[in-house]
Symmetry: C2
Subunit: 328 residues, 2 copies
């Protein structure tokens, strides 16, 4: 009996990534093309998404009739139920674009589903990555921003209005730093790569002593790698900043445990390049801050492992699960 | 065709409440008897639970053969999957008691399910109360402690190890007040009725001016009612304390929105007696603190309406849903 194949399309602000994934989450092909978000608007991009999908199908040695369903992962805000991208900040000129139906039409009416890109990535890790075989997974994506996705009991937790798992906007410091979203004290205001860098620049230009001052004076960016490197070279401020960042991530993880108690919390995004230098202090603070009544019952924190493939694998997997279970 | 009937048993530290509920969530009978937690241990209490169940069945004019399934709501920690109460703080001497099987055996092998009492209460409100007809509900119980339950997509979010929805232990103030659980800055440390009272006593005995000083000097307790009453009589500290309490509750609700985005967040527990004096400021801070990117998409905050019946109604409903869907 032949396998079932799914097409995943991961629409990003920079690239459109596509791939064919089989029912066992094996990736048969991968293809990438620039989104060209600035020129063309929805129509051109939708056509490029279709073409990139065709390219991945061809590369896998298949044709469209071999594909059971198509999953599109895209930046929010979007409506999974209506299949519409509402107003993504990184796709200028997009407003209420019926992506699901447009892609389905491009592929002659093939079953298509639209998921938030963070949800799709979480599903990828749950289905094929670090969450494989688990019952439930929450992904916490630590990049330029902080995002996430929740898979519970083999289903997405999308939220009543598709805004569940906006994990970067959990408030962890009331009256804290202003977040881009307008709230104060969001996890993202402390634990994103860009905000950790911003805090470093603020403090150092404000007079705090640090070996990272030389980096700033050379006009180079303060990245996660720079902070970790200077910490290891003995810079006290870099140490304090990194540990404070990890402590906020741990608080975010504790709050996720106290709401969803997933089997695993998977850390993902650019900050994960720090590997054990991220995981170890996050776990340390997570255990340290944890209430003693939860001993042994809390979610395990792990590093995601699919990297930038998570989105397209998860989009394909979302197509599979949505076809099987329907919208729930 | 005759209706299907379910028996709900709500085991509390003070009382055992039972009731027969039909498939449409109509309560046919209610019965209550003291738990007598201090004497008897598990065996005596399990027998009283059975007897109280029989009393409710009889009162409804039915017999055990008319009952489709039995739901038991009980204080945690417990394992739904194993049907075992692990170590409830308010039932001294209980350790790993197989409540589900004991009750099932009492009723000649009738299908029985065991739920955390907070989950059961959330299910009650979802099935028959303020969440009726909604897609998802999170209950936030503001009493002596702060607890909760999560219903999403018609299913419980129990957590991988049955410790989901420990909503009182979300950390909302890092380096904040020590909570009974051992964590610092838990929602419960600020937003429970008893902790609001504790903060009042601390501040007033520490020198803060307040008309509530007279209450303390008379040796009377500072309750939610007292705080609200003094606020209305113009006491500035009572106003500040109540608003700070409501602000923390609002932060808790925002964090629930940013994780689960349920259709409704139902406030329950003793503090809800304050009615609109609770709901209005909580909603005000919730809207006020909310990021502007979430406009119109956030969960609605409402007051629960089943009061102390929520537990037994929800336990009966949990029996129904578990029989229908299995453990998931």
């Amino acid at each position: 009996m032949s396998k079932k194949y799914y097409l995943g399309i991961d629409l990003g602000g920079t690239n459109i990534k596509t791939g064919v994934v089989d029912e066992d989450a094996k990736v048969l092909s991968k293809y990438s093309t620039p989104t060209l978000a600035e020129d063309g608007g929805p129509k051109g991009i939708l056509t490029r998404m279709g073409q990139a999908g065709e390219a991945a199908i061809k590369q896998a040695g298949l044709n469209i009739d071999d594909i059971v369903a198509i999953g599109v992962g895209a930046p929010g805000a979007l409506s999974h139920k209506d299949g519409i991208i509402i107003a993504p900040p990184n796709l200028p000129g997009w407003k209420n674009v019926p992506v699901r139906d447009a892609i389905s039409e491009y592929f002659n009416g093939k079953f298509t589903t639209l998921e938030n890109d963070a949800n799709a990535a979480a599903w990828g890790e749950y289905w094929a990555g670090v969450g494989k075989g688990t019952d439930s997974l929450v992904m916490l994506t630590l990049g330029t921003g902080v995002g996430g996705g929740i898979v519970y009991g083999g289903r997405f937790v999308r939220g009543y209005r598709d805004v569940a798992a906006e994990l970067g906007h959990m408030i962890v410091e009331p009256r804290g730093r202003l977040c881009a979203c307008g709230q104060h004290g969001c996890l993202e205001a402390y634990a994103s790569a860009s905000n950790a860098a911003r805090i470093a620049v603020e403090k150092i230009t404000g007079g705090t002593q640090s070996s990272m001052r030389a980096v700033i004076e050379k006009g180079q960016p303060i990245t996660t790698e720079v902070i970790v490197q200077h910490m290891h070279q003995g810079d006290q401020f870099a140490y304090d900043l990194w540990h404070e960042t990890c402590r906020y991530i741990a608080i975010g993880c504790l709050n996720l445990n106290h709401t969803v108690n997933p089997q695993v919390i998977a850390l993902a995004g650019g900050m994960v390049n720090a590997g054990q230098h991220l995981l170890n202090p996050v776990r340390m603070y997570y255990n340290d801050l944890q209430g003693n009544i939860f001993g042994g019952l809390c979610s395990e924190i792990v590093l995601a492992k699919l990297g930038s493939d998570a989105g397209l694998v998860g989009a394909a997997g979302a197509a599979k699960i949505t076809l099987e279970l329907g919208d729930w």
